[in-house]
C-alpha cells in the first residue's frame, strides 16, 4: 500500500488492496501451523523481530529521512531493561517489558535532543556513537548487566520449545500490527505530512511554520518505544542477552537495508524487506555456517538495491504495474495531454475523497 501522500497513487483498486492485505494477514497468522519444524518457526520469530524493528526504524528513517544506525542500541536497551527488571527487581515478565519500553522512551528524549540537532552524515555518526557507547557501558558494568558473560532472562511461560516459539510468533505479529497501524495513522495525519516535509526539505518545512525539531523528537521517541518493545520481546523469547550482539552496528545496518529494500515510503516496505533480508540471512548462516559470507551477501544486496531500486522493491513493483497498465510511460508531465491530465485528476480526486 503506497503512502497516503504518495504522488503516484496505486492503480490497484481499494478492493484489491484490501484483498492483498487480508491474504498477507492470513499468511502471517497461518504460518505457525504450516511451519515444517521448530527451527523454521524459530527463524520466523527472528524474521518477525526484524520486521517490527525495521517498521520501528521506518518511523524515523521513512518519515524524516534521518538514517539511524543506532536503532540496534535502542533494541538492546529494551532487551536489557526487560531482563534487568525481571532479574534485579523481580517484576513479572510483561510488566518488565512495558516498563523497559517506557524507560527507553524517556531515555530517547535526551538522546534525540542531542542527536537530532545534526543532519545527514553527522546524524549517522552520532547514531553509531550511541551503539558503541552503550556497548562499552553494558560490557564494562558487569556487576549490574552481567558484562561479557551476558544476562540470562527467565522465560515467561513454562512451555515446550515449539510452543514457546509459537506464542512469541503471535506476540510479535501483534506488535507488528500495532506498529504498522501507528505508522499508517501518522502517515495520514498532519503530523505525518510535516514529517515528510522535513524529509524533503527541513529548512523549507521550518520556514512554513513546522516545528521541525519537536516533530523529529516526537517521532524518534515513538520509534524508540516500538524498537524497545521488540528488543524486550526478543529478551523474553531468546532468554540470553550478550552486549556484543545487542549493541551491534550490524543490527542497525540490517534495519536500514530492510527498509530501503522494501521501500521507506511504503507502509509494508520494511516488512517486505525484513522477509527478504531475514530469510536470506538465515539461509546464508545455515548454508555457510558462521562465516562472514552473509555479510558479503548483505553488502551486495544493499549495493544492488541502491543502484537499481533506490525507492525499494514495492515502489519498483508499483511502477512496473503502472507501466504495464499505461503502456509507454511519459518522461515528463509536459508530455501529458490536457485530456490525460483531466482523467488523471478525476481518478485521483476519487482517491482523496476516500480520505476526507
Amino acid at each position: 500500500m503506497p503512502s497516503d501522500s504518495d504522488p503516484r497513487p496505486s492503480r490497484l483498486g481499494p478492493a484489491l488492496r484490501i484483498a492483498a492485505i487480508l491474504v498477507l494477514a492470513a499468511a502471517l497468522l497461518s504460518f505457525p501451523s504450516l511451519a515444517p519444524n521448530p527451527y523454521v518457526l524459530s527463524a520466523s520469530v527472528v524474521v518477525l523481530n526484524y520486521a517490527v524493528l525495521a517498521t520501528s526504524w521506518n518511523f524515523v528513517g521513512g518519515f524524516t529521512g534521518y538514517v539511524s544506525l543506532g536503532h540496534g542500541a535502542l533494541a538492546g536497551l529494551g532487551g536489557y531493561g526487560t531482563g534487568l527488571f525481571i532479574v534485579k527487581a523481580g517484576l513479572p515478565s510483561f510488566l518488565s517489558l512495558v516498563l523497559a519500553a517506557l524507560l527507553v522512551a524517556v531515555i530517547a528524549v535526551p538522546i534525540g535532543m542531542a542527536a537530532l540537532r545534526v543532519r545527514g552524515a553527522s546524524f549517522v555518526i552520532v547514531s553509531i556513537a550511541l551503539v558503541l557507547i552503550l556497548l562499552l557501558v553494558f560490557q564494562s558494568w558487569a556487576s549490574f548487566t552481567g558484562g561479557s558473560r551476558g544476562l540470562v532472562v527467565p522465560r515467561p511461560f513454562e512451555l515446550s520449545r515449539p510452543e514457546h516459539h509459537r506464542v512469541f510468533y503471535f506476540l510479535y505479529a501483534a506488535l507488528l500490527f500495532v506498529a504498522t497501524l501507528t505508522w499508517w495513522l501518522i502517515d495520514r495525519s498532519r503530523f505525518g505530512l510535516g514529517l515528510k516535509a522535513i524529509r524533503e526539505d527541513e529548512d523549507k518545512a521550518e520556514a512554513l511554520g513546522t516545528p521541525t525539531f519537536t516533530y523529529k523528537l516526537v517521532v524518534f521517541v515513538v520509534s524508540a518505544t516500538f524498537t524497545a518493545l521488540s528488543g524486550g520481546l526478543y529478551a523474553l523469547w531468546f532468554g540470553d542477552l550478550d552486549p556484543v550482539f545487542q549493541f551491534s552496528i550490524l543490527t542497525g545496518s540490517y534495519l536500514v537495508l530492510m527498509a530501503l529494500l522494501g521501500g521507506v515510503r511504503n507502509l509494508f516496505g520494511p516488512l517486505v524487506g525484513a522477509l527478504v533480508v531475514g530469510i536470506a540471512l538465515e539461509y546464508f548462516k545455515v548454508e555457510f555456517g558462521n562465516t562472514p559470507l552473509h555479510l558479503v551477501a548483505t553488502g551486495l544486496l544493499l549495493a544492488l538495491v541502491v543502484m537499481f531500486m533506490p525507492d525499494g522493491v514495492l515502489p519498483a513493483l508499483g511502477s512496473l504495474i503502472q507501466r504495464f497498465r499505461r503502456g509507454p510511460q511519459q518522461g515528463s508531465i509536459r508530455e501529458m495531454t490536457a485530456a490525460e491530465l483531466r482523467d488523471d485528476r478525476a481518478r485521483q480526486d476519487a482517491t482523496i475523497g476516500g480520505t476526507r
Binding site: 503530523f191 512554513l208 511554520g209 508531465i333
Partner: protein
C-alpha cells in the same frame, strides 16, 4: 504609515566577509516594499536573519512591535512572516497538493493527529493553486514541474500559511514574461487584500512598477530609501549599481 517589520543595527559576518553591516530598516505595513541592491549587498542574508534561518551576530528584528530576533523560523512563520527562497524550494517528491497542505499548522497534539487531507483544507489549497493558475497540476510531483511552476507552487505554499507579511526572494528569477506578469498581478491583488510584501528583486521594471517603497542596500547596509520615483534618480543608488 506604521512599520510592519523593522531591524535595528543588524550585523552578520561569515568568516571575514561582512554580509550585514548595521542594517537599520523599517518596512511599511500594508505596502509593497522592495529591497534592492547589487549582488552581494546582503539582501538574502537580511531575509535569512529576519526569518530566523540564520542568527545575526548582533542587532534586533522586530515584527509588529514584538522582538523576534532569537525566535526559531517556525515561530517567526507563525508570527505572520512567510517567505520564498532565492533558489525556489519545493518538496520535490510530494504532490503539488501536499506541498500546499504542508503549510497547514496543526493546533496541538490532537490537531497533529487529524487527517492531513481534510475537505476544507483541500478546498483552500485548491483555491490557492487555482489563483496561481496551476490547479491542474494538483497531483503532480513537484519535481516534475517546470521552474516557473515550482515558483508558483512555492508561493501557493507560503500563502496557504496565511502570512500577514510575505517576503519574496527574487520572484522574477528565471521566469518568463507572462508568468512574471501573473506574479506581479497577484502581488498587487494580495496587497490590496491587506498583505504586506517585501520583495528582493533585480528586475527593475518589476520593482519600479509594483513597489510603494524601496530600500536600497549596498555592502550590507541601507544607502537609500523612498518611493520608486526618488530611488530611480538617486545618485547613491546609481553609484552602487554602476560603480561610479
Amino acid at each position: 504609515m506604521t512599520a510592519s517589520l523593522e531591524t535595528s543595527d543588524l550585523r552578520k559576518a561569515f568568516g571575514g566577509v561582512t554580509a550585514l553591516d548595521g542594517a537599520t530598516v523599517r518596512f511599511r505595513h500594508g505596502q509593497v516594499n522592495a529591497l534592492i541592491g547589487p549582488n552581494g549587498s546582503g539582501k538574502t542574508t537580511y531575509f535569512n536573519c529576519v526569518t530566523g534561518m540564520i542568527r545575526p551576530d548582533s542587532g534586533t528584528v522586530t515584527y509588529r512591535g514584538k522582538e523576534v530576533t532569537k525566535k526559531a523560523p517556525h515561530a517567526i512563520a507563525r508570527a505572520g512572516i512567510g517567505r520564498t527562497f532565492q533558489l525556489c524550494r519545493v518538496f520535490p517528491r510530494m504532490s503539488a497538493l501536499d506541498n500546499v497542505l504542508a503549510a497547514v499548522r496543526p493546533g496541538g497534539i490532537l490537531g497533529g493527529l487529524r487527517g492531513a487531507r481534510r475537505g476544507a483544507e483541500i478546498d483552500r489549497a485548491r483555491g490557492w493553486l487555482t489563483r496561481l493558475g496551476i490547479e491542474h497540476l494538483l497531483h503532480v510531483e513537484a519535481r516534475n514541474l517546470s521552474w516557473g511552476q515550482q515558483k508558483l507552487l512555492e508561493l501557493a505554499g507560503v500563502l496557504m500559511g496565511d502570512p500577514e507579511t510575505v517576503l519574496l526572494d527574487e520572484p522574477a528569477g528565471g521566469v518568463n514574461p507572462a508568468l512574471l506578469d501573473r506574479i506581479a498581478t497577484l502581488v498587487r491583488e494580495l496587497n490590496a487584500e491587506g498583505r504586506t510584501f517585501v520583495i528582493v528583486e533585480h528586475n527593475m521594471d518589476l520593482v519600479m512598477s509594483i513597489s510603494d517603497h524601496i530600500v536600497v542596500f549596498d555592502r550590507g547596509r541601507p544607502i537609500a530609501e523612498g518611493p520608486p520615483s526618488t530611488i530611480r534618480t538617486d545618485e547613491r543608488v546609481l553609484g552602487a549599481y554602476l560603480g561610479v
